[in-house]
């Protein structure tokens, strides 16, 4: 085998989350009230559009979570020689951990330039002194090694070449989108027993049960962008390159995974605490309630950033003094990312716990819970059967509401220096590096612009989706 799969901790947790999501979806299919609530999400155009965009981000993030270590090609031979001598193969794998996304984006990842270059440029951003053929020195804008290197006369050809590629990209996107449109029309037609013409008009006019038109439109926009990028990225740097010549589009795409990990794993790791303690405090009362309330008052009393700062500083000391725990740099930065999730989770579970405690206090006085108690059902069974299912909507709402806040928090924390490892590509580290570039003359704006666009779209979609989910699941909002 030419690769060695690597499962980082956050990968495992992300995929566990996907499996849990699928199981939850099965459960929802079988439970009518839940199905109805999710249908209410799907009926809202904002909900469907936001979900489509989020799904695109999730696909990028999951592809970036399939990690492996490639076999080192130049060492392969040597390894075989020694293997032949010892009678067994011992392949040597690269210390660099790559992901499936890296493999797909190989052209982007490998086509690095010397330093800054503007989006779609053919030359570097700054003049450099080169030796002319006649021996004299001239200050010119050197051509890029990869960007627009297929053109012989960039100033004359560049615009036409880019335009032609965009036209091709639009054509491809249109073809794929038509296919998706036909599939949706087919599905809608079968679902509500319409003829073709009726189904087409229902989708086009947005009169379907679920808001398919909104989903198709946002899918179309995403498709268009992706295909334009795909057509251009093989020969240009769509978002330019950064200080060490890395493609900014590649960095932005890699940041997505970090944002998703922070946004979801944090809530995932804090949920068991919040649910167990919140429900226990609300249902059992007495000293359990006092103890839980004490713990979360203490945690609340410390300003969030400071508690995070203190914990991250200490975590950093632990990681730095135990280098032997980690095989590769990727594992170390992954450990730091996971620790950050835990720390953020530890500081943010109190809000959810308080909500759950309040809701449980209400529920325990309801007739059906009292009836269960009168029948002699045990406390554990009551909590599992009657309380837990009826507070799950709060957990779900917290999960989607917290996501965008956590993505934003990551950027700020990384700026402050208590976020992800500096080697982890994230929106925070991108902004951090880009900040100094604005002061340059002439200004380098594209890294910041790329980080802004990606983050804004992700957080906006998450905010809109969270609103729709809350409207659908919160009984107080109807």
């Amino acid at each position: 085998m030419s690769i060695q799969p690597v499962v980082l901790w956050t990968d495992a947790l992300l995929f566990a989350l996907v499996v849990a999501g699928l199981l939850a979806a099965l459960h929802v299919r079988r439970t009518e009230p839940l199905r109805e609530a999710w249908r209410a999400v799907g009926r809202r155009p904002t909900g469907m559009a936001a979900a489509t965009v989020l799904l695109a981000f999730v696909v990028v993030g999951l592809l970036d979570s399939l990690h492996y270590r490639p076999l080192l090609p130049e060492l392969e031979q040597g390894a075989e020689v020694s293997a032949g001598a010892q009678g067994q193969r011992s392949p040597i794998y690269s210390a660099e951990v790559l992901s499936a996304l890296d493999a797909i984006l190989a052209p982007l990842r490998l086509q690095t330039e010397k330093t800054y270059s503007a989006p779609l440029a053919a030359t570097l951003y700054q003049r450099e002194t080169v030796v002319a053929p006649d021996g004299g020195q001239v200050r010119v804008y050197p051509r890029l090694v990869h960007g627009a290197s297929h053109l012989t006369d960039p100033p004359a050809q560049l615009a036409a070449d880019v335009a032609w590629r965009v036209v091709k990209a639009v054509a491809i996107a249109a073809a794929v989108w038509s296919l998706a449109f036909v599939l949706v029309v087919f599905g809608v037609g079968r679902g509500s027993q319409l003829r073709w013409g009726e189904a087409v008009s229902a989708v086009v006019r947005g009169r379907t049960a679920l808001a398919w038109r909104a989903a198709l439109l946002s899918f179309g926009v995403l498709l268009l962008i992706t295909s334009v990028w795909a057509m251009l990225a093989t020969h240009y740097h769509v978002f330019g390159t950064d200080k060490v010549g890395q493609d900014v589009l590649y960095l932005a795409l890699k940041s997505v995974r970090t944002a998703l990990v922070i946004g979801t794993i944090t809530t995932l790791v804090m949920m068991p605490f919040a649910v167990a303690l919140g429900i226990a405090a609300g249902y059992l009362g007495g000293w359990v309630d006092d103890a839980v309330q004490y713990v979360y008052t203490v945690l609340n009393a410390i300003p969030g950033v400071l508690l995070i700062a203190a914990a991250v500083l200490m975590m950093q000391v632990v990681i730095d003094t135990h280098p032997q725990w980690f095989d590769t740099a990727a594992q170390r930065s992954d450990a730091r990312l996971l620790a950050l999730c835990f720390i953020l989770g530890m500081t943010s579970w109190t809000g959810l716990a308080r909500l759950l405690r309040g809701e449980t206090l209400k529920l325990r006085e309801l007739e059906y819970v009292q009836a269960a108690r009168a029948f002699g059902v045990g406390t554990a069974a009551i909590l599992r059967r009657h309380i837990l299912p009826n507070v799950m909507h709060i957990v779900l709402i917290a999960l989607v509401m917290d996501f965008s806040g956590l993505v934003l928090a990551e950027a700020v924390l990384s700026y402050v220096g208590i976020g992800v490892d500096p080697t982890t590509i994230s929106f925070g580290t991108m902004i951090n590096m880009a900040r100094a570039e604005l002061a340059r003359e002439p200004m380098v704006w594209w890294s910041l612009a790329a980080a802004f666009v990606f983050m804004f779209v992700l957080v906006l979609a998450a905010n809109l989706f969270a609103d729709v989910v809350r409207d659908a699941f919160d009984p107080r909002r109807s």
């Binding site: 004490y294 713990v295 008052t297 203490v298 945690l299 609340n300 009393a301 410390i302 300003p303 950033v305 400071l306 508690l307 700062a309 203190a310 914990a311 500083l313 200490m314 950093q316 000391v317 632990v318 730095d320 003094t321 965008s404 934003l408 950027a411 700020v412 700026y415 402050v416 220096g417 208590i418 929106f427 902004i431 900040r435 604005l438 910041l448 802004f452 983050m455 804004f456 957080v459 906006l460 905010n463 809109l464 609103d467």
Partner: protein, 325 residues
Amino acid sequence: MFAYLVRRVLYAIPILIGVNMLTFVLFFVVNSPDDMARMQIGIKRATPEAIERWKVERGYDKPLFFNDAASGTGRLTDTIFFDKSLRMFAFDFGRADDGRDIAQEIRDRMAPSLAIALPTFALGLFAAVSLALLLVFFRATYLDFWGVVGCVAMMSISSLFYIIGGQWLVSKLWALVPISGYAAGIDAARFLVLPVLIGVVAGIGSSTRWYRTIFLEEISKDYVRTARAKGLSELRVLFRHVLKNAMIPILTGVVVVIPLLFMGSLLMESFFAIPGLGSYTIDAINAQDFAVVRAMVFIGSVLYIVGLILTDISYTLVDPRVRLE
């Protein structure tokens, strides 16, 4: 009311002890002082002597809880726990790594922090409540719809972009105010305009939406219908009835942050080079000055508890039904 306040202050003590224990565990038990020393000196240069010197300089060479070598009360007081944790209750924070007295530093840096945090807070609150009332006045119209869309869009932008964008636009492109820095006295205004403005704009999306929800909840109640039935104008209903009755949820969220304004804003102060407590904290974090971070954690929790008590008192001011007993 006095008895109530005394009780609240007494309640605060176990919470502060909890905070204290938590920071103690975090800073001295999770990592031994040796680990911290090795980290600060640099793993490669950390000889046993260097570590020992580092610990002696900072007073980390004592036992954690119990000192067998000392005699009398010294057995309990000549320890890290007493020196570094318990002394905080007397606001004695010891010295920072650069040798300066932390308590003095905090006193000096409070004013710049307040100078930027207080106007940001007041203007932000005023702007958000006004905008929310405006949206509620035009509820269920296009103005309301697009207003909410604007709020959601604005809260989807990281505060880092507001700061970077604002600095670039106002200071660099238009050259209206200095890009960063601080001066004492009236001269400070020049440096404060931009951070305050950015602070207000950055927070306005989420807070306007939050107040709008509160007002909308209030406006569907019976007393509002009665007020309208009496023939009051919509403006009067909004200001005299809705705003007044929405004070309790507004105060719940607002009053608790007032004391924390002393702590300043980490981001604003570090971007604008304002010598307040926020930039002090950020510098301490970057320099891994554990003593300063511990002091700030303690002060932050004290201020938070003060905020909770103030919140309770403020309820009695706006709602005559609430009595503190």
